[in-house]
Symmetry: C2
Subunit: 156 residues, 2 copies
DNA sequence: CATGCTGAGTTCGCTTGACGAACCCCGAAA
DNA sequence: TTTCGGGGTTCGTCAAGCGAACTCAGCATG
């Protein structure tokens, strides 16, 4: 039989794949959209709720797990003549999800657009559009998966 | 009142954000993991099912919508003395999700690791590790969201 | 021919999660 | 003292995910 055996047959433990792990943290419904709003500067429960249209109970839950996972921090603040409240701010760990969000956005801009992209990203220093790219440590641009060799890391 | 108004108050239509649109296509449970397996070369229903451990009914559904959305194509093939079957192959549209998957993986490798990353990506030409980066069209590296100005596209 | 096997689904109950509406709690303002 | 509004919680309903069992086509074996 001449089956082309794919990359694995239990050669490495798929349960420990980082994509799955990341999705376990931010893969539930609304989580990534909450993060997007956070990158847009939205910090308050009511603003998030209005921007997203998610049910309050779900939003409460997602915020709690994002805080618990350390992507957002819950900080007290107070406004003129109002009682103390909390807002949700990006942590460094949360900020590192930015390329993921941009990658998702870029795909959508390319394939779902019925017009100009709803949101444009510019480099603040030079005004040029920002996008995600695959590069290797030697500085070569990597056009796609065909130029990439994926292999299991060393066992421990 | 000195509220810091965030990026929008109905200044642009959030329902047309590309992140949300992309997630509508690949945001359901298992979809992105199916895509990951596709990038690893897995093409057959049974192999996917075994690799992922997803219920067959869900997998059937996810494959159908991925085919319908044009990220995978369903191609007939036949093996020695077996009846004709189908396999699922990446299309160009599906292949363009690669940076997204790599970005998710990279975040997981950084924050969820209790050891070396389960999967290493190498540039096939030079063997150097591959990663995603934010760059602007003028070639500057963009370290993070702070160097990016997000603004709504033109209305139509 | 009858039988069995295998890959790819489908069907079926069950459990979990998402949903929207209603309700609650607190401190400030009136 | 009542009212108001942000930030939730609770509740009943409905959709989605789950594993196990069943189906169906067609090749292979007897």
């Amino acid at each position: 039989m001449v089956t082309i055996t794919p990359v694995s047959d239990a050669t490495y433990d798929r349960s420990r794949c980082s994509v799955a792990g990341t999705l376990a943290v931010v893969g539930e419904k609304w989580s990534l959209l909450v993060m997007r709003e956070a990158f847009l500067g939205v910090r308050r429960f009511a603003d998030l709720q209005q921007a997203l249209g998610a049910p309050k109970a779900v939003l409460t839950d997602r915020l709690a797990t994002l805080v618990q996972e350390g992507l957002l921090s819950r900080e007290p603040y107070r406004e003129e003549g109002a009682r103390q409240r909390h807002e949700y701010r990006l942590t460094a760990k949360g900020r590192d999800l930015y390329p993921t969000l941009v990658a998702l956005m870029q795909w959508g801009d390319r394939y779902l657009a019925d017009g100009p992209p709803p949101l444009a990203l510019e480099h603040v220093d030079c005004g040029a559009p920002v996008h995600v790219a695959l590069v290797c440590a030697d500085g070569h641009e990597v056009p796609g998966p065909r130029e990439v060799l994926a292999r299991p890391g060393e066992r421990r």
